[in-house]
């Protein structure tokens, strides 16, 4: 039998690192094939090779048994290979239909036939149950729908082999369910899918087989029906994984963060946080649960001095920081792992070393009289790279060229190492592999044990339930309830997050 895709003995090197080493991947027709591996294992690299974005240093690619040469994405398209990238490539103020046909527009005579385009898109959308309105502008639709537009785009080009690189990292739980449904429908229609994800749950729900990669090498390919989640996780990391739970006793100390009657406006000058009260103590992890867009971002930004406080007061260790500048707040003891590591967590074009001192570069011992002490910075960076197991050729490497998970480790290393009194962690494990999640959860728990206050914001209810000592549910800018994780469940949290306090109390 010939495979839909067969990549044989692929090798791809980057300066200082072998990203793919003798990798062989065989994808059967009509299957969903998972690609599973640690951050920086080389999954995206392998897929970029298949999609013609990178040229392999060695190895061969076969499509339906035919040896092929893929020198750019156009070649890939011609061979029926399509890719949904993690960062969408849509034009915001074009309509859905315009985005989809861009590059191969249907014409009548010389003119663009927009009616026909709309009809094609609508038919495709119906056929695969994608539920996309071709006439809407991309800027007006949700992230989940934008992703479906990306899928339509490759279906429109007639692709049979669909690559999804971490499609679920940006989706809500409901959107993830929908996406899995869609993928299942696609393979029923004869498409083959390669899915990269860090979430075992998704692999076991959606996939037929799974290839595990570690440090650029293939560890093995398994049938999902023959394995179980913990086996697969161990296989990927190469040791036993224990996602830690918060089992140290809950012994809150002094108030570290105190928020009184806080009102914060969003960018449109509408209150996003409304008269919110909250306290976080030393020695506790307070989890904030809530549906995206209920004021979480504005709340954190207000604490960090990045957004103006409209009304109310914020105290850090008893000191009023309501009107202080970000730098002063950081100096007063704030650590912050921002949600968007690319935009806010890292200067991507700085080296790893430079990024490690982003808040401390001006202080001793990293600077003397305004002059940077590059040797000291290098030494510190090397130490953190080792301590936090950041996979990088060295501290002189640009942050941009690290894999997503390792970029996050740089941010976490920097923030935790400063040992702040209050650590805000916003989506700290988004896009991270299980090993890295274990590591980061351990770090957060250590901070708790050290008596620091941790404010955790996450859309992953698992994570909130696992780590928190108390869970504050935010809804429309208010904390509508604070619950004990030991006495609650996903169901109750779900109701509370939807603003149904009474129902939530009874559940």
């Amino acid at each position: 039998m010939s495979y839909a895709i067969e990549m044989r003995n692929i090798r791809k090197e980057f300066p200082g690192i072998v990203a793919n080493d003798d990798v062989t991947l065989q994808v059967k027709e009509g299957e969903i094939h998972a690609l599973f591996g640690e951050n920086g294992a080389g999954k995206s690299t392998l897929m970029n090779v298949l999609f013609g974005l990178y040229q392999p240093d060695a190895g061969e690619i076969y499509v339906k048994g035919q040896k092929v040469n893929i020198s750019d994405p156009n070649d890939a398209n011609r061979l029926g290979i399509g890719m949904v990238h993690q960062h969408f490539m849509l034009i915001d103020n074009f309509t859905v239909a315009e985005n989809i046909i861009l590059g191969s527009e249907p014409t009548r005579g010389m003119a663009l036939d927009m009616d026909k385009a709309v009809k094609i898109v609508r038919d495709l959308s119906d056929r695969y149950g994608l539920d996309v309105d071709p006439l809407k502008k991309v800027e007006d639709i949700t992230i989940g729908m934008q992703q479906r537009v990306e899928i339509l785009k490759i279906l429109y080009r007639g692709s049979n082999i669909l690559i999804f690189d971490e499609p679920t990292a940006v989706l809500t739980p409901i959107e993830i369910k929908e996406l899995i449904e869609i993928m299942k429908r696609l393979v029923k229609e004869g498409k083959s899918i390669i899915l990269i994800t860090h979430k075992l749950k998704e692999i076991f729900e959606a996939c037929d087989r799974c290839t595990v990669i570690r440090l650029g090498k293939v560890i093995g390919t398994v049938d999902i029906s023959d394995t179980n989640p913990s086996k697969l996780a161990d296989m990927m990391v190469g040791r036993k994984v224990n996602i830690p739970v918060n089992d140290s006793p809950y012994a809150p100390k002094e108030k570290v963060l105190e928020i009184k009657d806080l009102t914060v406006l969003d960018s449109r000058k509408v209150p996003a946080v409304r008269k919110l009260d909250l306290e976080v103590h030393g020695g506790e992890i307070l989890g904030i649960a809530g549906v995206d867009g209920n004021g979480q971002t504005e709340l954190i930004e207000a604490i960090a001095g990045l957004r103006k406080v409209h009304e109310g007061q914020i105290l850090l260790n008893g000191e009023d920081i309501t009107r202080l500048k970000t730098r002063k707040i950081i100096e007063a003891g704030l650590g912050y792992i921002p949600e968007d590591r690319h935009k806010h967590g890292l200067v991507l074009d700085f080296t790893v070393g430079e990024n490690m001192v982003l808040q401390t570069y001006y202080k001793k011992p990293f600077a003397h009289a305004g002059v940077l002490q590059n040797k000291v910075i290098s030494k510190k960076a090397k130490q953190l790279i080792k301590e936090f197991d950041v996979r990088t050729p060295g501290e002189k490497t640009l942050a941009r060229s690290l894999s997503g998970g390792n970029q996050q480790k740089v941010v976490i290393a920097r923030e935790v190492d400063r040992s702040p009194k209050l650590l805000i962690a916003a989506q700290p494990t988004r896009g991270l592999d299980i090993g890295a999640i274990e590591f980061i959860h351990n770090k957060l728990l250590e901070e708790k044990k050290k008596g620091k206050a941790v404010l955790l914001v996450s859309f992953e209810l698992d994570e909130i339930l696992h780590l928190s000592d108390r869970i504050a549910v935010i809804y429309e800018g208010r904390i509508i309830d604070i619950v004990n994780p030991k006495e609650t469940n996903e169901n109750q949290l779900g109701l509370l997050m939807a603003g149904r306090k009474e129902a939530g109390r009874q559940a």
Partner: protein, 355 residues
């Protein structure tokens, strides 16, 4: 070889090198088509610049303001700003340095010369701070505001000269010797060229830029803000202040470029009917020099050599000097379209890998 092309350090250096070669080649083709001998033309440039002291001196002399203008553009660019206002900052620096020199002419040289240079640099810096402030405070794009500042500088300096410092010949009086950078020794050495001590100022400026950007906490902030205002803000860096500061430094380098013309080359300032162009050439110098200090010196040298040597080309090879301006324009064009060159290189490299 193909790996060498696309990977790592050498790749980005290739683009300007190829641009220069392409510029010279296409220039040669145009000369051929117009019935001139390009080999003779280029030969006369090289011979004059390297073998005739006068032209060597004049080349270095032309380099001084060009390099400073290039440093100005590169500094702003390193911090994420596009300073089109070098021309105006240069004029401001030129005027203020000359005015200071004339006004305080009674002071001894050890005081007056540094004072005039400083005044010129500060004037350029102030001219840069204004658009910097407008950007930081009101989000006015610096490209627009610096272009407007150029016109304000042009007409203001003309007005001030006309009304307060006018002398025959549509210019200011000469500056006193006490404030001059000119040097009979350097002139003698180069058979009467206008080479002056300003080259030392340019070298110091280059070292200063390198030191500030790469060795100081201030430079760290400036670069961080240039690369990622978002991450900088989250790290507690004052983005607005660094934008203003960056424009101040950039403007200072531009102001010094003008100062060099005032205290060095000309010893006065003339009324300018239109822009003198050094500021705009500085953009090309910075681009070709990849916004690095060494690169700016190299590309500044190249442009100056072509311009100065172009004069002998006319007499020695009978090729009109306009043609050398075409060559310069071509090089700028190719650098500007570096995207195309990169694309071609990538294709070549890929082809190489396959075979």
């Amino acid at each position: 070889m193909s790996k060498l092309l696309t990977s790592g350090k050498y790749f980005h250096i290739l683009v300007p090198l190829i641009s220069v070669v392409l510029g010279l080649m296409v220039g040669a083709i145009i000369m051929l088509a117009a019935g001139y001998n390009p080999i003779l033309a280029y030969q006369s440039i090289v011979e004059s610049v390297f073998l005739q002291p006068y032209y060597t001196g004049e080349t270095i002399r032309a380099m001084i303001p060009l390099v400073l203008a290039g440093l100005s553009v590169a500094f702003a660019f390193r911090t994420g700003l596009f300073n089109i206002g070098v021309e105006g900052q240069l004029l401001a620096g030129w005027f203020v340095s000359v005015a200071t020199a004339i006004f305080f002419g009674h002071l001894p040289k050890v005081v007056l010369l540094p004072l005039s240079i400083l005044a010129g640099g500060i004037a350029g810096g102030v001219w840069g701070i204004i658009p910097g402030f407008l950007k930081a405070r009101f989000k006015v794009h610096e490209v627009i505001s610096t272009i407007m500042m150029n016109y304000i500088a042009l007409y203001t300096t003309n007005y001030l000269i006309k009304h307060y410092l006018y002398t025959q010949g549509e210019r200011t009086p000469n500056i006193p010797d006490n404030a001059s950078l000119a040097s009979p020794m350097l002139a003698n050495l180069t058979q009467g060229s206008r080479l002056h001590w300003g080259f030392i100022v340019a070298i110091i400026a280059g070292l200063l830029m390198w030191f500030i950007l790469w060795k100081t906490t201030r430079g760290y902030e400036l670069r961080a803000v240039g690369f990622s205002p978002g991450a900088s803000r989250y790290a507690g860096i004052n983005v607005e202040r660094n934008i203003v500061l960056s424009m101040a430094f950039s403007g200072m380098f531009a102001g010094l470029a003008g100062t060099m013309e005032g205290l060095g080359t000309y010893q006065y300032m003339m009324i300018n009917a239109s822009f003198i162009g050094i500021g705009f050439n500085g953009i090309a110098v910075a681009l070709l020099g990849l916004n690095t200090v060494v690169g700016v010196f190299l590309s500044g040298a190249l442009f100056s050599a072509l311009q100065t040597g172009g004069l002998t080309m006319q007499s020695d090879a009978g090729v009109p000097v306009d043609l050398i301006n075409i060559v310069i324009a071509l090089i700028i064009f190719f650098v500007g379209s570096s995207y195309v060159i990169k694309w071609v290189l990538n294709r070549l490299a890929k082809r190489g890998e396959k075979n």
